[in-house]
């Protein structure tokens, strides 16, 4: 979504060890934002905001209309597991704080601080008012929300991320320390806690509202509550107020005249005048062509643009296409569990490295994705603070894209497996051609074409590949879920994606390669990828058993506040991953958005939506 900041999706990372009370330090941040072209003129309104009326009344501001493919499902943030719903709620509720692209905390409702990275103090602003007669927002509301909803057992409200507020299965102690402050006492040091989507972007409901449903654990009642359905409790807590929600059509929010940020002095000037639109509308336009047409005709202010359509918008005066780096990686995943046709070979890092030589990553980025992606070499994007060029081994680009080297690598390392080269083809023990089953996610032409490219590349090194496209849900159910199929109980299990050791826990349907399942690389809190890299990781559906002992490395990286030590450890982790090639890291995606060319504010950087309330329309 063009303006969707999805903390859960962007994920956690880096250390934000900050001194207490940092609101005022953000005034400096405002200066840099101003230089970037978002400065608000002194006194507030300007020609860019729309004409000021002669009678001294409020200036007229333009409306912002964003086109989206799908609509919201709910306005109850306790039930939100989709980005469109979260985007709409964020118009009326600011959330605790934002994270800047520089990974600084930008206080909105609250600031968070710590001395040693274990106990965090959250301090609320004093002018936060609920709507619908619920009074002032206090620490009492937050503590009640956290303990009675987020940490409730059973999870009566169906809160999608109950694990966020637990450590080792136990609730994180939370204690009120004042009318407007409370402490979060982590069981161990976690320097990246403010960057995790736990307090970052967290919403709250009034205690008085929750109390009506908590005793009977009435999720249905809460879901259907009128105040929840219309965000009536939002009061002055967001830049916009709920106006109407036409399901399947439009969500309209109007400028909130009582927005709390207007009364505070510790934020940059442009935040106090925000937002710069009279209304913000999410218009649901399911068909891609219609969205692009509406952008061209000026009926939409912004909408996502697929890479295949950027060309149509280039050269138009009224439309400006911007490209934002993202943290989602596309990988070619190898099945190293026992139900693959080539698993004995794929378990060997040397074989995986040989296969990585065979696929031209640059060509996929340039020709299939039309340049709208970047080549990936490890489980971090290159813009990440934790990415170190000199630690990462590159495959599939320049000299490291070579069918000859791939063949040599395979020939040299297939020896201890049932496979071998017979002429220029790879055969099994019976002398039959090895054919790999590549399952790809349907719905994206780019993914399908990439699968075809991979099949051609593998054919060139003697491996046949059969392609089969499936719906995402079917891939998950048939190939990603795996369970113990051998005798007796599994020695261990790590959930539906990792039912146990790779020799005994296999998926319902056999597979060799999967394409089209993207992984979040969590550049802010890279320790979140642990589950991908250790044998017992909850998401290790591909049966990867690393040669490097990643567990202790992650422990070391997450338990120290020493920034240099963390950096060194993460660099070692990402270097080792690039060398072991648990899967072929292909590319990092981008988000492409088409804007009305008068829109000022969005910067082409990761996490660009954090200050979307300060964006405006600069009509000449």
């Amino acid at each position: 979504m063009p303006s969707g900041s999805d903390p859960a999706a962007a994920g956690p990372s880096g250390l934000a060890r900050r001194s207490r009370r940092s609101f005022l330090t953000l005034l400096g941040l405002g200066g840099s934002t101003s230089l970037a072209g978002c400065n608000a003129p002194a006194g507030g309104s300007s020609a860019t905001d729309g004409p000021a009326t002669g009678d001294g009344s409020a200036p007229e501001r333009p409306d912002y209309v964003e086109g989206t493919a799908t609509g919201a499902q709910t306005l109850n943030f306790l039930s939100v597991d989709d980005t469109p719903s979260a985007n709409r709620i964020e118009l009326a509720l600011d959330g605790a704080y934002a994270i800047t692209p520089e990974q600084d905390v930008f206080p909105l409702w609250a600031d968070i601080s710590t001395d040693e990275g274990r106990v965090y103090t959250v301090e609320l602003r004093e002018n936060l008012e609920w709507g619908a007669g619920y009074g002032r927002m206090t620490a009492e509301d937050w503590v009640y929300m956290i303990t009675e909803v987020f940490q409730a057992d059973p999870n009566w409200a169906g809160f999608p991320n109950p694990g966020d507020w637990r450590r080792g299965g136990d609730p994180i102690p939370v204690e009120k320390t004042g009318t407007r402050s409370f402490e979060i006492r982590l069981p161990s040091v976690d320097p990246a806690f403010p960057l995790r989507p736990v307090m970052w972007g967290a919403f709250c409901m009034p205690k008085g509202l929750i109390e009506r449903y908590r005793p009977d654990r009435d999720q249905e009642g809460l879901q259907q509550d009128e105040d929840v359905q219309t965000l009536a409790y939002a009061g002055n807590l967001g830049p916009y107020s709920f106006e109407r929600w036409d399901r399947g059509s439009a969500f309209v929010a109007v400028r909130n005249d009582d927005y709390y940020l207007r009364e505070v002095e510790d934020v940059p000037e442009e935040w106090r005048e925000a937002p710069y639109f009279d209304s913000y509308t999410y218009e649901v336009v399911p068909e891609e062509s219609s969205r692009i047409s509406a952008l061209r005709s000026g009926e939409l202010t912004a909408t996502d643009v697929p890479e295949t359509r950027v060309e149509q918008l280039e050269g138009l005066d009224d439309v400006d296409v911007r490209v934002f780096p993202q943290a989602y990686m596309t990988a070619l995943i190898y099945n190293q569990r026992a139900n693959g046709a080539f698993y004995e070979a794929l378990r060997k890092p040397a074989v995986r490295r040989a296969l990585a030589y065979a696929v031209d990553k640059r060509s996929i980025v340039d020709d299939v994705l039309r340049g709208y992606a970047t080549v990936a070499h490890t489980f971090q994007p290159t813009f990440s603070t934790w990415y170190a060029d000199d630690e990462v081994t590159e495959y599939g680009v320049g000299d490291t894209y070579s069918h000859e080297r791939a063949r040599e690598g395979l020939a040299a390392n297939l020896g201890s497996t049932p496979y071998r080269y017979d002429g220029d083809r790879v055969v099994d023990e019976a002398g039959e051609q090895v054919t790999l089953d590549l399952v790809f996610a349907q719905g994206s032409q780019a993914v399908e074409t990439t699968a075809q490219v991979v099949a051609q590349e593998y054919d060139a090194i003697g491996l046949d590949v059969e392609l089969s496209g499936k719906q995402y849900g079917a891939i998950v159910e048939q190939h990603l879920y795996n369970s113990w199929q051998s005798d007796g109980d599994p020695p261990w299990g790590a959930g539906p994606y990792n039912g146990g050791p790779r020799d005994g826990s296999v998926s319902q349907e056999p597979w060799d390669l999967v394409l089209g399942i993207t992984f979040n690389t969590y550049p802010r809190t890279p320790s979140a990828i642990r589950g991908f890299t250790v044998e017992r990781g909850g998401i290790n559906f591909y049966g990867y058993v690393p040669e490097t002992d990643f567990g202790p490395l992650f422990e070391a990286a997450t338990s120290t506040v020493d920034e240099d030590a963390r950096r060194e450890t993460f660099e070692e982790i990402f270097g080792a991953l690039s060398a072991e090639q648990p899967f072929n890291f292909l590319n990092m995606g981008v988000e492409i958005v088409g804007y009305d060319s008068a829109v000022a504010g969005p910067e082409e950087e990761f996490g660009y939506t954090w200050d979307r309330n300060t964006w405006r329309l600069n009509r000449q």
Partner: protein, 326 residues
């Protein structure tokens, strides 16, 4: 006739129950993409996939045995409660009643236009067989049948909305709801009606032409002409009426086709929040209550439509009657 009608309506109830049951079970068996995403996201960020699945089931009302949920649904349905749509956060009945007017706004004009023009052009072609006008009408018919609605809609939007600016690209649901009979609403409905009518007009026209040709040279028509009947009278009284009997069978089918299949595509292209998109989204998001609710509507249209069609036979053709058995 009464007994026949009652029996048909009772049978409709059985059919509806059967379809509901099958739909309910199929939805349960189908892989749930949203659940898969929720679980994947949880597992990928180091959370428990099982806890995420439990929370999802709790939110979506899927946390009980299948039979228990089904019986509860039927009990609620019997009391007039169609359930709660989890993916729209509103009662299913409200969702359908909100969407229905949007669908009717363009399907009713499209069906009226296509039926009237289709029959008229068909009769004209039959009366002027193998003339230039007949060939032109046949071309229009084949064009309408052949051209995909989806593509046609996109091209028309580009031409009339983007380049000429005569109509808006986006459908304004608020405008349609508050100023239904306004010029502005007519403007935004013009293209959907045109696209839908173009495809529906073709089949009606071809059927009307074929049926009318059977009667144009019939003995009773010649007799009417010999007795000095005016061409208009021959057309409307002697050809149109017998033509309408078989034609009425395709009208119900047409209506269903328009509402059920064509409307999906038209509503997606033009962004109209009608019944087609409602049911499409319900299926995509596996919103059980909403899928069942939107399934009941076409079942009702099909069963009642067919009943009305059978009853229309008797009105149009005096030789047909549904005598009650004694």
């Amino acid at each position: 006739m009464k007994r026949y009608t009652a029996r048909r309506i009772a049978w409709a109830g059985v059919v509806a129950l059967l379809i509901l049951t099958i739909t309910f079970v199929l939805l349960e068996l189908a892989p749930d993409s949203q659940l898969a995403r929720v679980q994947f996201r949880a597992a990928a960020s180091g959370e428990s996939a099982e806890a995420a699945a439990d929370a999802y089931a709790r939110r979506r009302g899927l946390d009980g045995p299948l039979w228990e949920r089904y019986l509860e649904y039927l009990a609620n349905l019997a009391s007039g409660d169609w359930g709660w749509s989890d993916t729209r956060s509103q009662p299913v009945a409200e969702a359908i009643l909100t969407a229905l007017p949007y669908s009717l706004m363009y399907t009713v004009p499209a069906v009226l236009v296509s039926t009237t023009l289709g029959i008229a052009i068909g009769l004209y072609s039959a009366f002027n067989q193998y003339t230039k006008a007949d060939y032109a009408a046949t071309f229009v018919a084949f064009f309408g049948v052949s051209i995909p609605n989806f593509w046609f809609g996109i091209v028309l939007l580009l031409l009339f909305a983007v380049y000429l600016g005569w109509v808006p690209v986006l459908f304004d649901a608020e405008l349609a709801r508050t100023r239904t009979f306004s010029l502005a609403n007519a403007r935004q409905l013009a293209l959907p009606v045109f696209v839908l009518a173009t495809s529906a007009i073709a089949s009606t026209m071809r059927y009307a032409r074929a049926e009318a040709l059977e009667y144009v040279r019939a003995a009773f028509v010649k007799t009417a002409r010999a007795k000095g009947a005016h061409e208009w009278r021959v057309l409307t009284r002697h050809v149109l009426r017998p033509t309408l009997v078989p034609l009425s069978t395709i009208l119900v089918g047409d209506l269903l086709g328009v509402v059920l299949s064509a409307s999906y595509l038209v509503e997606v292209v033009f962004g109209i929040p009608g019944l087609g998109r409602l049911s499409l989204e319900a299926i995509r998001r596996q919103d059980t209550a909403l899928v069942l609710g939107t399934t009941l509507v076409p079942v009702f249209v099909a069963v009642i439509g067919n009943l009305l069609q059978d009853l229309a036979y008797a009105v149009l053709d005096p030789r047909i009657e549904y005598g009650d058995r004694r």
